[in-house]
Structure formats: C-alpha cells, structure tokens
Symmetry: C5
Amino acid sequence: MKIFKVEKTLVSTNRIAMMEHKPLLVVVEKDGGTPQVAVDPVGCKPGDWVLCVGSSAARDAVGTKGYPSDLTIVGIIDKWEVANHGNTPS
Amino acid sequence: MKIFKVEKTLVSTNRIAMMEHKPLLVVVEKDGGTPQVAVDPVGCKPGDWVLCVGSSAARDAVGTKGYPSDLTIVGIIDKWEVANHGNTPS
Amino acid sequence: MKIFKVEKTLVSTNRIAMMEHKPLLVVVEKDGGTPQVAVDPVGCKPGDWVLCVGSSAARDAVGTKGYPSDLTIVGIIDKWEVANHGNTPS
Amino acid sequence: MKIFKVEKTLVSTNRIAMMEHKPLLVVVEKDGGTPQVAVDPVGCKPGDWVLCVGSSAARDAVGTKGYPSDLTIVGIIDKWEVANHGNTPS
Amino acid sequence: MKIFKVEKTLVSTNRIAMMEHKPLLVVVEKDGGTPQVAVDPVGCKPGDWVLCVGSSAARDAVGTKGYPSDLTIVGIIDKWEVANHGNTPS
C-alpha cells in the first residue's frame, strides 16, 4: 500500500454508470507530486494522510462487488511525520 | 485512477477480434508526455481531461465481459486546472 | 495499453510447457529503450508499431486459456508518427 | 518479489473493516527511500530485510480470503548484504 | 515479460508456508541494477539471462495453484547480446 495526502474532491459528472456516486478524491504522494484519484469509502477530508491500496485489491476494498477502482483509500493514518522522506506532516 | 488528456483517435485496422470496434484514444498525462492508449466507453473528444482506470478493473469498466483492456476511460473531468502540477488546463 | 516497436524474435528453447510455441517478440517503447518481450497472436514483423496490453488482460488477449503472459500484442498501428514524443515513425 | 527493510509499525485506527487488525509495517527499498506499507503475516521487527509480494498474489499471501492487500511480506531474508546495490546490510 | 540476469539464490528460512521450498533467485535487469526476486520453476544458474513474467500470470506460471508469486521465470534465453541496451551479454 502507498501513502497519500488528500487534496480535494474530483468532480466528474459524466462518468460510466458503474462508478456510481462514490466520492473520488485527488491525492498526491507529496506536495507538488503527480495527482492521482482514489475512491474514498472511509470519509476523508483535505489534508488527511491516507493509506491506499492498488492492484486488484482496490476493487474489493470499495465494498461494492465489481466496482472498477485501481486505487482505494483503506485507512486514515493517525499521525504521519516523515520529513526525512520529503513528505510534509499533516 | 490517473488523469489524462485526450489527444486523438488511434487507428489500428489489424487487431485481434476480442478488441472489437470500440474506440481507442491516444492519451497523455501532460503535454509532451509518453502517449498511452485507452478504451473509451464514454465518448470523449480531443482536449478532454479524463479519468482512467488501470489494472484488472480496466476490463470490467469497458462493459463487455472479458474485454482485454488495461486502461479504460471511466469519466470526463468537469474542470481540471492544475498548473501547479505541470498540467495545462483544458 | 502502450505503444511499442517490434525489434526481433526472442529465442528461448528452454521454457515452461505452459508457454507453448507461441512467438515471443522483443519490443521497445522507443529506439534504444529497455527491451521487453510480448506474445504475438497477430503476426507482426520487425519495424511494426504495435499496441500491447499488460496486466491480467494480457492473459486473455493471447486467446489460450491460462496462458501466462503479462504483455500481449493486440493490434498493429496503421500509421504512427509522433516525433514530438521522441519516437521514430515506422 | 521485491526486497524491503522494515522501518516501523503504521498506526491507522480509522480503517475499513476488511483490513481487520493485521499488523501494517512501513517498509523502504533502501534507507531514505519512499515509504510503502506492507501487511505482515510473518512477524517482523524493525531492521529486518524482508521479501514482499505485490500484485494480486499479495491478497492470497495474507492467508485471509479476500484481504485487500497489494503488498504482503512473505519471508525474512537470512542475510542481506548488497552494498553494491546501494542497500545497507541489516 | 521482462529480461533479467540471474545473480544467486536467495535464502529465506522464515517464510510463509504457502511459499513452500521452491527456489527463489535474485535477478537484475542489468549489472548493478535493483535486485528483484523471482520464483524459478525452470532450473537456472547464476549468469543465465531469463524471461520473467509478472502480474497475475506469475502465479499460474509457477505451476502450483494459488502460489503467491508476482515474478516467475518462464524461460532461459538462448543467446542475449544487447550491448546497445546497456545490458551485458551472458
């Protein structure tokens, strides 16, 4: 699993039906990093450091059978301070 | 999921039968980036910023059982402006 | 899916039985790039620009149930000219 | 499989139910590298060099059907000394 | 599939039962490259250039149902000389 920081909600009105209305969040590995998008079944807010699962496990983690996700938030990290890794603590 | 910009349609006449006639679009993560090819079940046009799913979820997202895709467009982003990420707004 | 240029046939006499005698081609994303190997169910020749699928979809694309591929050619591109991407047209 | 060094335990109180209470460890490929998180069914301690499996195999390796992992520790390496690869021996 | 050079056997006494006693080999894409670990159902020796499959296909290629591998050797390359790719011939 990888560690990301939540930036904001992604708005995509025109999406395939299979995506339903689940919240999609823009996340980055570090400030200024390439943005990715994760499905959020936990309920996160901007600034949270979260744990995301990829690969085929991302589909099961959403909790809806057959949901087409390749990146899903599975937990909020209690405290993340890794200045030595180039990340900024929340 | 990752964010891409649609460039153009890819023409591949000689393809395996399993690929059918679904539209294939050339997409890039940013202008000048390495081109990838995504299946488009949504109906996008060049210049659109889109959300793409990879991994095994890409197959289900096409909506045709067993379709051999590893990158499928699942939504069009309403508005994408991330100059700070090095991407150009649509 | 990613775009590759076919370089040559790979010869591997001592292979697991599951690989059968299907043609394996050395492909590169651009001239001088890291070589990868793709299964070819289409019938390509050196110099062709091809579309390859990875992930679990690569297995189905071969057309033989349970074939252990993680990169399979699914189509030949009619015309590929992307000098601006650093690739050489075929 | 890839080789990682165990750094510490990750604390994530607010996680999806599917993650249960299995130990999650922060691991790095080399000192100062980007931290990733692996599920630990073996019982490792900080400083151990471990073998981790990714992709869909990470789910089976946990030993709990349907566990949403994309990186799971499958073994502790007896002795790892690869100064020539830029890693520090344990 | 990717091309690797076999370096040596990896010793991991404390491993999950699912890994059994199959040989695990340390492989590199080029001399000095980051070491990875592949399951070897073929019978390779140090110095061999081999073809490895990843993704979910790596599991089937081992030949044991449900084996948790994400990188498996599927063949030995007869002759590999690609000085132009930065690799050293065997």
